[in-house]
C-alpha cells in the first residue's frame, strides 16, 4: 500500500481536478488558503486557470462567467468570504449555474477566529441567499471524504445545475491525514446535460423535455446563449408573467428537494440492542465514532448516524433511521443549528444536545457523558 499525507484542503483540490475542474478563483483566507495554493499548482499544468480574485465577490463572479462558458469551476473560502459570496450564490441558484463552493468553516461570527474550527455556517449555507431556494450542502468527516465528496459535488453541480457547498471545517481542511487516494472508489465523472442535436431552437431554461433541469450550452459556441440574474422565462429574457414565474420557482424548489434521496450520503451504524441514536456530522463524527466503539465494547451499544448530506435535509434517512430509537443525541460544533432540523422531523423523540462553540473539538469524553447521563 502506498499512502499519502494530505490536508483535507489538498484532498479537495485533488478531488476537484480529478472531477474535471478547470477553473478556480479564490481570495486568500485562513483556513481555506491551501485550497487556492494547491489549485494554483494543479490547474495551470493541466491547461486550467487558477485566479486570485481581488475579493471574494469577484472570485465568485470569475467562476460563474467561466462556468457559463462551459468549464467546471470551484471556489473556496471561510465565513467572512461566504458572507460576501451571498449575492453571487443567489445568481447561481436562480440562474442554474454549476459551481462547487468550499466553506472551510472557522469560528464566527464575522472575522471570528481565523485558526479555530467550528460548524457554525451550516444554516447560513442553506439560507444565506435571498429568495429561499434550496442548495446542496455536503459535509466531509475526514480527508477521504474531502476527496470523494468533492467528486460527488462536481457531479451534482453539473447534473442539477446548481451551487454545491462543501461544508468543511478548519479541523478537517488543515489537518493532515494519511490516505491512499488510489484505493478510493469515486463516482464516474458526469457532465452537464446537452440538448439533443437538432432540437431547435435552443432555449436556455427550457424544461419541456420533462426533466426538472434545463439542458446546457456554453456561452461561446455557435448557438447563442443567454444568461441573466433577473427573473426569466425559458428563453432567458426577463418575464413578468406570474404563472411562468411561479412555475419556475416551483421547479427550482423541487429539482433538489425531490431528488435528495439520490444524493443522501451518510454512515450509519446500528448495533442490536441500542436505544440511543447519536446524530452528528463533520469532524465531530470522529469523536462520536470513538464513543460508539467504547459503548459497544462495554456492552451498552448506541446507534450512530453520520450525515454527509446536510441540505436538502435527508428527511427520509433521518426519520427511517431514528424511528426505532427511544432517545436521540445530537452533537455538533455550534450551538444547535442542525438540532432544529432533527427536532422538526421527530417531534415525538426526546432529543439531548451537545454543542460547543469555543474553537476546541468536542471530545469523546464529552459525548460519552451526554450519552450516559443526558
Amino acid at each position: 500500500m502506498v499512502a499519502s499525507l494530505l490536508e483535507g484542503n489538498e484532498a479537495i483540490a485533488w478531488g476537484a481536478v480529478d472531477a474535471g475542474c478547470r477553473f478556480f478563483a479564490g481570495y486568500p483566507i485562513t483556513p481555506a488558503t491551501t485550497i487556492l495554493n494547491t489549485m494554483l499548482k494543479l490547474l495551470p499544468p493541466r491547461g486550467g486557470i487558477c485566479l486570485q480574485g481581488e475579493d471574494e465577490i469577484a472570485s465568485m463572479g470569475y467562476c460563474l462567467g467561466a462556468s457559463m462558458a462551459g468549464l467546471k469551476t470551484m471556489t473556496a473560502t471561510s465565513g467572512p468570504g461566504i458572507s460576501l459570496y451571498s449575492e453571487q450564490t443567489g445568481f447561481a441558484v436562480g440562474s442554474e449555474i454549476p459551481i462547487v463552493i468550499v466553506d472551510v468553516q472557522r469560528l464566527g461570527p464575522s472575522t471570528g477566529s481565523a485558526t479555530k474550527g467550528a460548524d457554525g455556517d451550516i444554516q447560513f449555507l442553506q439560507w444565506g441567499t435571498s429568495g429561499g431556494l434550496p442548495v446542496i450542502v455536503l459535509a466531509p468527516v475526514d480527508v477521504k471524504d474531502c476527496y470523494l465528496l468533492t467528486r460527488h459535488a462536481f457531479n451534482l453541480a453539473e447534473r442539477y445545475r446548481c451551487p454545491v457547498f462543501i461544508a468543511s471545517n478548519k479541523e478537517i481542511g488543515m489537518t493532515r491525514e494519511s490516505v491512499n487516494l488510489a484505493a478510493l472508489k469515486p463516482p464516474e465523472v458526469m457532465a452537464r446535460l446537452q440538448p439533443s442535436p437538432g432540437s431547435t431552437p435552443f432555449l436556455p431554461f427550457d424544461t419541456s423535455h420533462g426533466r426538472k433541469v434545463p439542458c446546457f450550452l456554453p456561452v461561446g459556441d455557435t448557438t447563442l446563449v443567454r444568461q441573466t440574474s433577473s427573473t426569466h422565462g425559458p428563453d432567458g429574457y426577463i418575464t413578468t408573467d406570474p404563472d411562468q414565474i411561479a412555475r419556475n420557482q416551483k421547479r427550482l424548489l423541487h429539482k433538489l428537494n425531490d431528488a435528495v434521496n439520490r444524493f443522501t450520503f451518510y454512515r450509519r451504524l446500528q448495533p442490536a440492542g441500542a436505544s440511543t441514536l447519536v446524530i452528528t456530522y463533520g469532524v465531530t463524527s470522529r469523536a462520536a465514532r470513538a464513543v460508539y466503539e467504547r459503548c459497544r465494547q462495554q456492552g451498552a451499544p448506541i446507534g450512530l448516524l453520520v450525515l454527509k448530506t446536510l441540505w436538502p435535509v435527508p428527511e427520509k434517512l433521518i426519520c427511517d433511521t431514528a424511528a426505532p430509537y427511544r432517545r436521540l443525541v445530537v452533537v455538533e460544533m455550534n450551538q444547535g443549528l442542525y438540532r432544529r432540523e432533527i427536532e422538526r422531523l421527530l417531534p415525538a423523540h426526546p432529543v439531548d444536545f451537545l454543542g460547543q462553540m469555543d474553537g476546541r473539538l468536542i471530545t469523546p469524553e464529552q459525548i460519552e457523558e451526554v450519552v450516559r447521563h443526558g
Binding site: L42, G61, A66, F91, R226, S230
Partner: protein, 432 residues
Amino acid sequence: MDSLLNLDRPPVFCPGCSHTRVTRALDNALSLLKRKGHQVAIVSDIGCSGLFDTFFHTHALHGLHGRALTYAAGIKLARPDLTVIVTMGDGGLGIGGAHLLAACRRNLDITLLVLNNFNFGMTGGQYSVTTPTDALVGSGFLNRLEHPMDVGRVAVAAGAGYVSRCSSYRKDLAAELAAAIRHEGFALLDMWGVCTGRYTRRNRMGPKQIDEALGALEPLKGPVAANQRPEYGRHYRQAAQGLTDPAPLAVPLRFAALTRTRQEILILGSAGQRINTAGELLCLAGMTGGLQATQKNEYNITVLRGPSLSEIVLCPTAVGYTGITKPTVVLALSDEGVQRRRAVLRHLDETALIIRAADVDLPPNAARTTTIDFKALQIKGPDRALAALTVLAAKKTVVDGDMLTTAIELRFKKDVRQKALALVARVCSGLQ
C-alpha cells in the same frame, strides 16, 4: 455585414436617452469588425445600461450590480477567441470599483463601455461617482460634499492599456467603439451621455455641454503608451507552459510497525522551531511502518512569533478522533509551547514519555522524562524539533531511526535533505 440588432426587442430607453445612440453605434462597430453574433458576448451591468444585452443577437450575460467585469473575465479566460464587451453605467463603476481597478491591472482582452450619464437613471436620479458637485440630483445635498471621479484617469493610473473619453454624440462613435474593441487588452471607453429621464430635468446637459466639459479636460484618446504589455490570457497561457504538477508524495510501506496501540504525540514549541515540519516527518515516518496518521497544528496568526504546537496521532487502524487528551509522547521544546498545554502535562502518568529541552520548565507530572541540553550540543532553535525526533527514534518509541531517515529522504531534496540527515547523525553520535 448584417446588423446584430435583435429586431424583436428594440431599445426601450426614454426618448432622447443617449443610450439609444450607443446601441446603434455598437451594432455598427461590430459590423465594421465583421463579428458574427456567436463570436461576441455582451455582459451587462445593472441599471438602464443593463438592458444592452437584450438588444443584440449575441451571447449575453446579465448579472449583479457592479460585477459585470468579473463574469466577463471568467468568460474571456475560458473562451479566449470571444469578443467580450461589458456595458456599465456610472453606478456600476462605483459599486464595482475594485473590479474596475483589477481589470485595468490585469489587462484581459475585454472592452468596457462606460455609459456615463452622471446619475442613477433607473432608481430615481441619485448621485453616482461621476455626478458633478454642482448638479441637482435625487440625493439632496449629498453630491455637493463629494468629488466626482474621473474614471479615465483612474483607469490610466491603474494600468489600463487603452483609455478613451468621448461624447456619445460623436459622429464617428462607431469607429471609436471599433478601435476600443480591436485593442488587444483591456480597453475602457468613457462615453458621456444624457439621461433625459432624470438628469436633464434639473440640469442643463446636452451634446454642446458635453463637448464643452470634455474640452476642458486633458483628452484621453486610446492607447496608453506607458501601460502597453502582453494581454493577460495570452501571458497566462505562456507562463503556464511547461509547468508540471507534482503528484502527492507517495509514502511506501517499508517497515513493521513498532506499536500496536494508538500513539498521541504532542510537540510543544515556538514559531521558528519547525514544529509543523517535524510533525509532518513524524507522520511520514510512522506511515513507512504502516501506521495511519493525523496531524493538527496550532499557532498564532502572527508568523514568526508565539507558540507553535503540533498534535500527531499514529495508529495501526484508522485514526478516529484527531484531538489529544492523554499524550503518550510529549516533545517539550519551548516554555510558551508548554504553557499552552500545562493542564494536559500535569495529568501525565509514567506510561508517558517527555523529551524536554533543558531550558524548558515543566509542571509537576509523573511521566518518564529525558532531558536534552540543546545548547551544549550546539543545536539551534530551528533544529530542535528534528533533534528531539531523533532522540525519540533512538529510543525506538513510536518510530525508529530507519523510519525517520526514510521520512527525511521522502520529504526533502538535495541540500535540505543532506542537512537534516547530518543533524540526525550528529544527534545520534552525541547520544552515544
